[in-house]
């Protein structure tokens, strides 16, 4: 929200301070969101796939779908892909690249790279623990 309250005076200073604190908290939450893809809710799964794909370079929607299908074996439906893309863009994790093509490419931002790194690290820990426990208790054929 743009600050258009030109008539703002000291009368509401306490409230102003409270709101500033709230805004700062919201900013922190958004920064946290950048470090935790889980906060994207139902889009967190597709989001990690999209960010992983974009880590290899900018891609448009269809190229993303094909790339994700090739490395993850999952084909994201168009609606799901764009729902996640719009959320990632709104959180500043990806950005659209100027293009003369109607197929607009997207690229990873520094925020997105940090979020993906944090997410993949946590997933790696889970995978390592799971695999080591399986190796100790179960004989995998």
């Amino acid at each position: 929200m743009k600050a258009r309250d030109e008539s703002g005076t000291g009368a509401g200073a306490g409230q102003e301070a409270a709101d500033t604190a709230q805004a700062a908290e919201a900013g922190r939450k958004r920064a946290d969101a950048a470090g935790a893809l889980e906060t994207l809710g139902r889009s967190s799964g597709p989001a990690s796939l999209i960010l992983s794909s974009l880590a290899g370079g900018p891609k448009h929607g269809y190229a993303l779908t094909k790339d994700i299908e090739s490395f993850a074996g999952v084909r994201l439906a168009p609606g799901t892909l764009y729902e996640a893309l719009s959320r990632l863009e709104s959180y500043g994790m990806i950005e659209a690249v100027e293009s003369s093509d109607r197929r607009r490419p997207y690229r990873l931002t520094a925020t997105g790279a940090a979020a993906l790194s944090t997410y993949l690290e946590s997933q790696r820990k889970v995978a390592e623990v799971g695999l080591s426990r399986l190796a100790g208790s179960w004989e995998m054929t």
Partner: protein, 360 residues
């Protein structure tokens, strides 16, 4: 899209449509709100074209697009979170609060008006009915006061914009609100003369409601009636009354449409927004009190087998269901107003091209 180019306003893409595939894609895009189509429509259409060429039509894909499109519409209506444009999302959530509030007051007002009529003619057998009337009347009074208080900064912002020569966007909403209000007030006053409460027993309790207010409430909610399901009985009504039952919801619809347009177009200052958020919290308490009063009536009337004047009919149960859903919708939208306002203050993520298009 290259710099200097602007997305088409309908978001369907810039090339002329042709063939069944293009028609299919245009149909699929319709699931999404206009603001989403303006931002993503063109590239999304390209993706759908490629998908159709590779895999052909698919019901699963259609269902996916429909579901995500509806979610985007809910977000656009301010009922779920979507930080595409916090400023626009805040306005949409405010409009959703207003819409749900009006739906709640209409549904609840019809129940309240029926009780008001009953109390003109009869003393209820149970205390619950009197208590529910008091609760509903108090809540309605609170909501009326809050509506007036909430309208002041919105109207002032619009007037101030008009004085700076930027009032064109507010002409249509103002006309809609003015026309709807005029029809409602004139028609309501005309038809309140035929109020069943008129001529009621002088000593009858009136539930603490002035007769004129109760009569106007009755006239304004006359169209919320089970008579629509009984055309033969409805046909016995005077033609002018049936015309009013058709015209009244149109007038209320005009007022609501104008108010929603106004809320979507006006850009409130942060201070005004905080003020509105406080009023919304109070309004939610008022709606909850109203809901409790309505529930009290439903339970008391059913339990005590009250007289015909206080009997609960199918239309009252339906009204109660609408009232409950509207109160829940109001709560969801109020949460989003707060979230969007805070997110916007923290330096919203991006501004949609729709906002920019509107600004132009």
């Amino acid at each position: 899209m290259t710099e200097g180019q602007h997305p088409p306003q309908d978001g369907f893409g810039s090339e002329p449509a042709g063939g069944p595939e293009a028609a299919r894609i245009r149909f699929l895009l319709l699931w999404y709100p206009r603001s989403w189509r303006v931002r993503y429509g063109e590239e999304f259409a390209e993706l759908l074209t490629a998908e159709l060429a590779e895999l052909g039509p698919s019901r699963r894909r259609t269902a996916n697009v429909a579901m995500t499109g509806l979610r985007a519409r809910l977000a656009g209506a301010g009922l779920t979170s979507h930080p595409l444009d916090p400023e626009a999302a805040a306005g949409a959530s405010l409009a959703a609060v207003a819409t749900c509030g009006v739906a709640a007051v209409l549904a609840g007002g019809a129940m309240w008006a029926q009780l008001a009529v009953g109390l003109q003619w009869s003393v209820p057998h149970t205390r619950g009915i009197g208590q529910s009337m008091a609760l509903m009347s108090g809540a309605l009074l609170l909501l009326a006061v809050l509506t007036i208080l909430a309208a002041v900064p919105v109207a002032w912002t619009a007037v101030a914009a008009a004085m700076r020569g930027r009032g064109r966007a507010f002409i249509a909403p103002a006309l809609l609100i003015g026309a709807g209000l005029t029809v409602l007030v004139i028609g309501g006053h005309h038809f309140e003369n035929g109020w069943p409460g008129t001529g009621g027993h002088l000593l009858a309790p009136q539930g603490g409601v002035p007769g004129g207010v109760a009569a106007f409430g009755w006239a304004a909610t006359m169209w919320i009636s089970s008579y629509w399901a009984h055309p033969a009985a409805l046909g016995a009504f005077p033609a002018i009354q049936i015309a009013w039952m058709v015209l009244c919801p149109i007038a209320i619809g005009c007022m609501l449409a104008g108010s929603v347009q106004l809320l979507l177009r006006v850009r409130l200052s942060p201070r005004a927004f905080r003020y509105e958020m406080r009023l919304i919290s109070l309004a939610w308490a008022g709606l909850a009190a109203f809901l409790s009063g309505a529930l009290c009536w439903l339970l008391s009337a059913d339990a005590a087998g009250s007289g015909t004047l206080f009997q609960v009919g199918a239309i009252d149960r339906a009204s109660f269901a609408v009232l409950s859903i509207a109160v829940l919708g109001c709560a969801a939208a109020a949460t989003q107003v707060r979230a969007a306002a805070i997110l916007a203050r923290s330096g919203g993520p991006i501004r949609s091209t729709d906002s920019e298009a509107r600004a132009r």
